[in-house]
Symmetry: C2
Subunit: 348 residues, 2 copies
């Protein structure tokens, strides 16, 4: 079993936007006074097409960032340069925490991220995943594997970027039974809805989201409600004890929403929002993603562009909402840091 208290040695799998921002924060951590006790080093860094680095004493993150910026990849001149793929690194390097930041592949049902996570957990190493695949397709299996190996399996960034939605429900709402969860959790669809309210077409909204790097080149996962389904399933499975798969979600696509429907609702004092919900029905948990008309004085109506919101309904605490305003890539990278602190505090 790997250590779970600082200092922690990290293996980065993936070096896209989140990985690079996380590396930047770690490299510049002196600029963040409250990070003084974040005692971590990156001992491995593997990518799909940028090469790999490994150094048990800690990779030079500034150099790694500079090389990717200048050359688009790590160079053989880098003293930490290694010939290593992600799975091999997960299986063989000596690290405490695997940080899975490779892109989600729905076509491959979450692979190869699930393989990476499994390789780490089987060795008793902790896993922090930003990739939603392991959560959507293998949550129960991986959680069981983590428990059997006394390892942590954390995933704060997968819903609401860095906002501590899982951590809050896990650490700060103990003793509550969560009766219902509602939220606006997909940025791209919300961005497009807001654009249509301003008079743009659906297509203009999508293009705008792509230009601002909110939507991916293929935005269908967002627009057909798939991303939102994965997120509400993650919340329901982790926090309500459900055993849902994204396919189980009663899912509505955004394709039926036209600018005229949006403006007609607005005239009546409503905004159309893609609302995710999970609720108890007898002994089971149901979930849906639906285009919903919300009145202007409802907190969900204020969620603009890339913001997000979640509301918990509980038996003791009552109704509590968490809102994230204008997240940046720093917010998302912080989610990994929150998980590192959670490991240090003993969370699993």
């Amino acid at each position: 079993m790997a250590r779970s208290r600082f200092p922690l040695r990290l293996l980065f799998v993936g070096f896209g936007n989140v990985g690079r921002e996380l590396a930047r924060i770690l490299a510049e951590r002196n600029a963040y006074p409250a990070l003084a006790d974040l005692d971590v080093s990156v001992v491995g860094l593997t990518t799909g097409s940028r090469g790999a680095l490994a150094n048990g004493a800690g990779i030079d993150l500034r150099r790694a960032l500079r090389e990717v910026e200048e050359h688009g990849r790590f160079t053989p001149q880098n003293p930490d340069y290694a010939s290593l793929d992600s799975l091999k690194a997960a299986e063989t390097l000596d690290y405490d925490v695997l940080v899975e930041m490779s892109p989600l592949s729905i076509a491959n049902r979450g692979e190869p991220a699930i393989l990476h996570a499994r390789a780490a957990l089987e060795r008793g190493r902790h896993v922090i995943t930003c990739n939603k695949g392991p959560l959507a397709y293998a949550f129960r299996r991986l959680r069981k594997l983590a428990q059997e190996n006394n390892a942590g399996f954390l995933h704060e960034t997968t819903v609401m970027d860095g906002s501590p939605v899982f951590d809050m429900a896990r650490s700060c709402m103990r003793g509550n039974t969560i009766l219902k969860i509602d939220g606006i959790l997909n940025s791209t669809s919300n961005y497009v809805l807001c654009a249509m309210e301003r008079g743009q077409t659906f297509e203009q909204g999508v293009r705008g989201a792509q230009e601002e790097q909110i939507a991916e080149a293929d935005p269908s996962n967002d627009l057909d409600g798939w991303d939102a389904s994965v997120k509400i399933v993650a919340l329901a499975n982790v926090l309500m004890g459900a055993d849902l798969r994204p396919e189980d979600v009663d899912r509505e696509s955004m394709s039926a929403i036209t600018p005229s429907r949006v403006s007609e609702a607005k005239k009546r004092g409503f905004r159309i929002k893609m609302v995710c919900s999970a609720w108890r029905e007898g002994d089971t948990v149901k979930a849906s993603v639906r285009a919903t008309e919300v009145p202007l004085d409802h907190p969900f109506a204020l969620v603009d562009a890339t913001g997000s919101i979640v509301r918990f309904e509980t038996d003791l605490l009552g109704k509590i909402l968490m809102t994230e305003e204008n997240p940046t890539i720093t917010t998302t990278a912080y989610g990994v840091i929150a998980d590192l602190y959670a490991l240090d505090s003993g969370s699993r």
Copy 2:
């Protein structure tokens, strides 16, 4: 030093609305499935005018509740009846956690609650206070005493009832420097503002708040911004490392707000809210409580009646808000339960 893991033996100081609701939840805990692991007993219960109970094996809470309901106090027929004042109980009974639920006395600068807390902490016993006095008048002193005696000093209910505002900032936002805190934190003033928006006078609003048991018989602490000042000071001192006293807050009273000012603002698309703020200025922290015009599409504009909201601005996580909708006395009592779980998790 007392134990901090379950099972925990509690000493209740005070048996008003919160104390009785907490006792009810504990007596009926089988109705709350997620409380199965809340392993606590109440071994002492002292009040100002209702008598006292003590039983090392656990007081019969149902009987205590019934007696207060039927007789307005504990009866000598109760086998746990004891002749004991709160300070003596704090000094002599064998308990793990003192739960301070006596009413706040501003005239006495937080006493005698501070005395009770000190007596417990000096014996290495944990303190959970619902009374804001110890926080407003003796926070640094008591926190130091707690640290010296390896005891916990927790106070979740003092701001936003049971919503885990301190717990979230402490456990789930580690690594962040909090740059600014804003909130709507006083129910009575918010209730009166909402009533004036509906066309009532200031006095009608206050009477309504009193009838709904939101405001006390003497609502001046709420209406002059004192309660809000105590709360923003608590947040600033605990979460921003400030050393403020309520007197240091740049405080505006509600007395200058008239129904015509409220309706005039509403016509222009604004709601007037009593907004508390704490922010950094160089090396110090400043705080204010101000009647503020907020636009209708601002999250603070949606806080109705007894709801409350807090917004944290941080260096890494960005901006995050927590909203509490329609809290009940159960919500407040849950705040103590949240602190009990926090003790069990090792929080101090």
